[in-house]
Symmetry: C2
Subunit: 214 residues, 2 copies
Amino acid sequence: MATIKVHGHHLSTATRLVLCCLEEKQVDYELVVVDLAAGAHKKPQYLALSPFGVVPTIQDGDLTLFESRAIVKYLAKKYKGQGTELFGNSLSEEALVEQWCEVEGQSYNSPASAILFQILFVPMRGGTTDEAVVEMNVEKLVKVLDIYEERLSKSKYLAGDFFSLADLQHLPTTHYLVTACGKGDLISSRKHVKAWWEDISCRPAWKKVSEKSS
Amino acid sequence: MATIKVHGHHLSTATRLVLCCLEEKQVDYELVVVDLAAGAHKKPQYLALSPFGVVPTIQDGDLTLFESRAIVKYLAKKYKGQGTELFGNSLSEEALVEQWCEVEGQSYNSPASAILFQILFVPMRGGTTDEAVVEMNVEKLVKVLDIYEERLSKSKYLAGDFFSLADLQHLPTTHYLVTACGKGDLISSRKHVKAWWEDISCRPAWKKVSEKSS
């Protein structure tokens, strides 16, 4: 079987999500670097693979797939029984994994990414961080994390007492929030969120992905 | 087996998504109306079911599930082989369904919902529509729909030549855009998007859901 190709960039959060999933599933892959700084993701060659012009996109035999959250679900299903099970072990567990994946995609990611954008990317492009935008998004994230704190007081991980895609999806953005944006207090000030973060961010798969080029 | 309870409201887009899925799958359900105007979704009784305080939430035996996009995936899997198949018929088809579901959740829904909010809900609450916000979101939606037009020139539905959750997820917001926001030209000006919309919006399941109380 041909090796899965991941077109992406090692510093992109969405690429890291897919790479971490591949590591958890113990699947070989080849990272084909898309030169984001040179705008390669907006050029015809890449747009033919991925019309929205965002990384990553995978190629697995005849299948070309973009949208990182869809890719990790595909990988979790295709490699069921290999590496870490990431989707629970019953229809109900799978439903709860999907639920908390949606919470990440709909409620956590937007404020977390907005903070990353303002603190990391705006200065990188020569601009000035808009502190009011940061503050507004911190307030949104606080509300989400308060709900996580309550949830994680009842189960070790988001979907239950098992690590899953729902937890995995939080690693890339939260890692930058904590290590590069000075927002670690959002995590460490909440007892159960802190314990959860310490647990999931120490997993070998994530350490391998996050320690490369960062 | 107990009937599935859907806590929601017949005019809410997310509730309609779940109801339409239940109709497509030919599953009996009971709609338990959450009085949104009275703020019932922010009161302790509802928050105990659904901590983010949004509709809908389903109860299916012991399972309580919120996040409409997670609910429809659960229903599509649980009732595989009954009613309309909504997840394709192979791992690759399922992956493409997931991909276009993510496109809806990450790229289509945000501008579409922002337009609905400005044109429908702001005046309902006594405010004035911010036309600049509408225009900015129309521009975002135009870019997404141009990609849909290209995609739908190659396959009848988003994930392939089969109707799926990916199409279903577009019904509730697009219906209001076309019927209540005066934005039908976004759809009708694109040949393949128009044909797709005429097809999916005429499905009996959607007609049944959208014609109630609207």
